[in-house]
């Protein structure tokens, strides 16, 4: 039975909006022009490739369902209370093969010694074998060669698959003048990494396991969706607020401007972490005092995520609003606006036809630039305790959980490293892409030939 959580619905809404915008832009040559500039940049396209992979994981993880249980209750199908996603289904072994507790990446034994009772009654202090990681090995001595062999064959298979994709896509890319070589190399590298990981993950815990024995690779991949949602769904709140209030303040000035400026000065005067903390604390009280609202724990965690996006949105629209107000103040003095006023064109029409299209580049630049900041903010907020629900898998909760083990000797480093590593790749790719987008859209960075 498919389940559509609140956040899923919002993601679908965003996706639809994104596709609609892309279609709209495709129809208009002058809107397409800056995108062509983006497409010519090798950095941007490689970053986009990486980001799209993350998006793919996130989207697969967004298609939720409840599995039907085998037993029937008086003819009616009974569904498991556990809400799963298509992504969970795809990586089932990762999800279900949990160990007892910590184990290092690619290990075959647990991280800590345990007392094992031997068949002969003696008790040994020994590193117990893992239930799944390297369970196929009869001889642990062969572990290294097995890993090497699996890694190599996996990488090779990945490379082949990558080559296949590259061959198919090559002609298509060449026609558009996209950076062929960079994309090719990136595809091959990524394909090899994925191949290697997939092959290894079938038999080992590639990134180890956490305190309760869950596979860290699985956790990291699941965290992607949370990060992406925080980074994108928030814009559903910021965008309308900033756009409407910003251009309204700039266009009408006077009293309207005073009121809007007052609102955003009040909001931005409260340090954002504190405002978020206060709001989240109050939300927590509401959620805790109304347990009857939620039928599954997933839906409770999800609603908290949506609320977090909402709160982040409410606290972060002011910057964009100020920018748009300033730009509108400039635009409203443009002569084409006055020409429209001379025709008696209504204010609403001037706003939508003349002002909005001419501030969209600012909106776009600010959205792509904000994305990475929001992903990073999630980790900090979850650490502070005002982020996502503790039961929700996210980079922040991963770091928070792993941080407590910092003091252990030797250190349990892999959960931290994976969380930071995945975050770094995602945020770096997003930042590099955002940079190119800004360069391509910002009219102040003049690319055209200079005027003599």
């Amino acid at each position: 039975m498919p389940v559509i959580l609140w956040s899923d619905a919002l993601v679908f809404l965003l996706l639809a909006a994104g596709i609609a915008c892309a279609w709209y832009v495709r129809q208009r040559e002058h809107l397409l022009l800056p995108w062509r500039r983006v497409a010519q940049s090798a950095t941007a396209m490689v970053s986009l490739l990486v980001v799209s992979l993350f998006l793919l994981v996130g989207l697969l993880d967004t298609l939720h369902f409840q599995a039907a249980l085998s037993e029937k209750n008086s003819g009616e199908t009974v569904y498991s209370p556990e809400v799963l996603s298509v992504f969970d289904l795809l990586v089932t072994p990762l999800r279900t093969q949990t160990e007892k507790t910590y184990s290092a990446p690619l290990a075959v034994t647990l991280y800590a010694k345990e007392s094992i009772e031997m068949p002969d009654g003696k008790v040994l202090r020994e590193y117990p074998r893992l239930r799944y990681g390297g369970a196929h090995l009869t001889d642990t001595q062969r572990q290294d060669s097995d890993i090497l062999w699996r890694g190599l064959t996996g990488a090779l298979a990945g490379l082949l698959a990558g080559l296949l994709i590259a061959l198919v896509g090559k002609r298509w890319l060449a026609q558009r003048g996209w950076p062929l070589r960079a994309l090719l190399i990136a595809t091959l590298i990524i394909a090899a990494i994925i191949g290697m990981t997939a092959k290894l993950a079938a038999a080992y815990h590639v990134l180890g396991t956490d305190k309760v024995g869950q596979d860290v690779l699985y956790l990291s991949l699941k965290s992607i969706r949370t990060g992406l949602i925080i980074g994108t769904v928030t814009t559903l709140v910021t965008l309308p607020l900033a756009l409407l209030l910003g251009i309204a303040a700039g266009y009408w000035r006077g009293r309207v401007d005073d009121v809007i400026q007052y609102i955003y000065t009040v909001l931005s005067s409260i340090p954002s972490v504190l405002l978020i903390a206060a709001a989240v604390l109050m939300m927590q009280v509401t959620i805790d005092t109304h347990p009857q609202w939620f039928d599954t724990s997933a839906s409770r965690a999800d609603l908290r995520l949506v609320f977090l996006c909402l709160i982040l949105g409410v606290t972060s629209w002011t910057g964009l609003c100020r920018l748009l107000r300033g730009e509108t103040l400039k635009l409203r003095e443009m002569e084409y606006i006055q020409a429209a006023q001379a025709f008696g064109v209504s204010s609403l029409r001037i706003l939508t036809r003349h002002i909005m299209p001419n501030v969209m580049h600012i909106v776009l630049i600010s959205l792509v630039m904000d994305f990475s900041g929001l992903v990073l903010a999630e980790a900090v907020l979850s650490y502070v305790g005002v982020g996502v629900d503790p039961s929700m898998i996210s980079f922040g909760t991963m770091i928070n959980g792993a941080r407590l083990e910092m003091g252990r000797e030797p250190m349990v480093w892999w959960a931290l490293a994976s969380a930071f590593g995945f975050m770094l790749v995602l945020v770096l790719a997003a930042n590099l892409f955002a940079d190119t987008v800004r360069d391509a859209f910002d009219p102040r960075l003049n690319r055209t030939e200079m005027v003599a």
Binding site: S269, A278, L281, L376
Partner: protein, 325 residues
């Protein structure tokens, strides 16, 4: 000019009232004191009696806005709003859940916070501006490109990583300074040096890149061409002409945070065990001590507004166009 400043200061009053009303609504209207009591006491063992008792203990047993039971001015003053919110205007923050005066706590904790935040701010500012100037001087060369790439990389790393990584490498591997702790006076130096360095590195990427953008924007202006046409060297152009003009946009972002330095940094302080306002806030959030959070929200806004006014004043110092109009 004096009138201008006076007007800015007067403008702060309605903003603070707005903040106060907003926090009041957030803390008392979204959830009633009953909800809060239930939450604090735990859902299971809650009885109407224990709720009442909790409310009485913490002073939430009054009407929100208007007390019809009271007489005269008490109608207004003997309410939650008056006692919990309005008092903050005279910096009366009340008591935390464990019964301590929030005001006194703030006063004692400001010192340690400032001890970390101020050096971080100053060293940081000098570093960022120098780095940005260096990139601007070598603009459009490999050095500049590498600098920007480094900035983007540094920006993409989570702030938590800098702290955890720094503690791990510097304290745990190299044993250079203690992992955490705090000591007043000169002996405390070893405790603060790492947080300061990490705080500085944490925003080197975004700040330097931002300053570089500002410098590049300035350097494209006509007066820079005039300065070059005089025969000034590129360094002189950068320091005497560009830097002076770039100060104006830089001040906008910098001066406003100076008062907020008192608030300390949430993450750094909690990781390094600094007894400042940042860790105070974190502890309050974790303990769900609403009185403290409310006080910190108000204090933060107050300091931000002071920062806005300071920004205005700094404009009049740096920019003759503001000073003379």
């Amino acid at each position: 000019m004096l009138a201008y400043l006076l007007r800015r200061i007067l403008y702060a009053v309605p903003i603070l009232i707005g903040v106060n009303l907003l926090t009041f609504a957030l803390f008392f209207v979204v959830n009633t004191p009953d909800d809060m009591a239930r939450m604090q006491l735990g859902i299971k063992r809650v009885t109407p009696d224990s709720i009442e008792k909790w409310k009485q203990q913490h002073g939430y047993d009054k009407p929100l806005l208007l007390n019809n039971a009271a007489n005269g001015t008490d109608k207004l003053t003997d309410t939650i709003f008056w006692q919990k919110s309005a008092g903050m205007f005279v910096l009366d923050f009340g008591y935390s859940d464990d019964g301590r005066s929030i005001g006194r706590e703030i006063a004692t904790r400001m010192g340690p916070s400032l001890e970390i935040a101020l050096p971080t701010f100053l060293i940081g500012l000098v570093t960022y501006v120098s780095f940005a100037l260096l990139m601007t001087l070598f603009r459009a060369t490999t050095l500049d490109m590498a600098g920007v790439a480094l900035c983007v990389l540094l920006m993409s790393v989570s702030g938590l990583f800098y702290i955890i990584g720094g503690q791990f490498v510097v304290s745990k591997l190299w044993h250079l300074v203690p992992i955490s702790g705090y000591d007043g006076g000169m002996g405390g130096f070893k405790f603060v040096v790492l947080p300061i360095m990490i705080g500085m590195i944490g925003s080197v990427g975004s700040s330097s890149r931002w300053y570089r953008t500002i410098f590049l924007e300035e350097i494209g202006k006509d007066y820079v061409r005039t300065a070059r046409a005089k025969g000034l060297s590129e360094l002189a152009v950068l320091f005497r002409h560009v830097l002076k003009n770039a100060m104006i946009p830089i001040l906008t972002g910098v001066v406003v945070i100076i008062p907020l330095l008192f608030m300390g940094s949430l993450l750094t302080e909690s990781f390094f065990g600094i007894p400042g306002l940042g860790s105070y806030t974190i502890d309050a959030i974790n303990a769900q001590d609403f009185s403290v959070v409310r006080a910190m929200v108000f204090l933060g806004s107050l300091l931000y507004i002071v920062g806005l006014i300071l920004t205005d004043i700094s404009y009049t110092i740096v920019d003759p166009r503001v000073r003379l109009s």
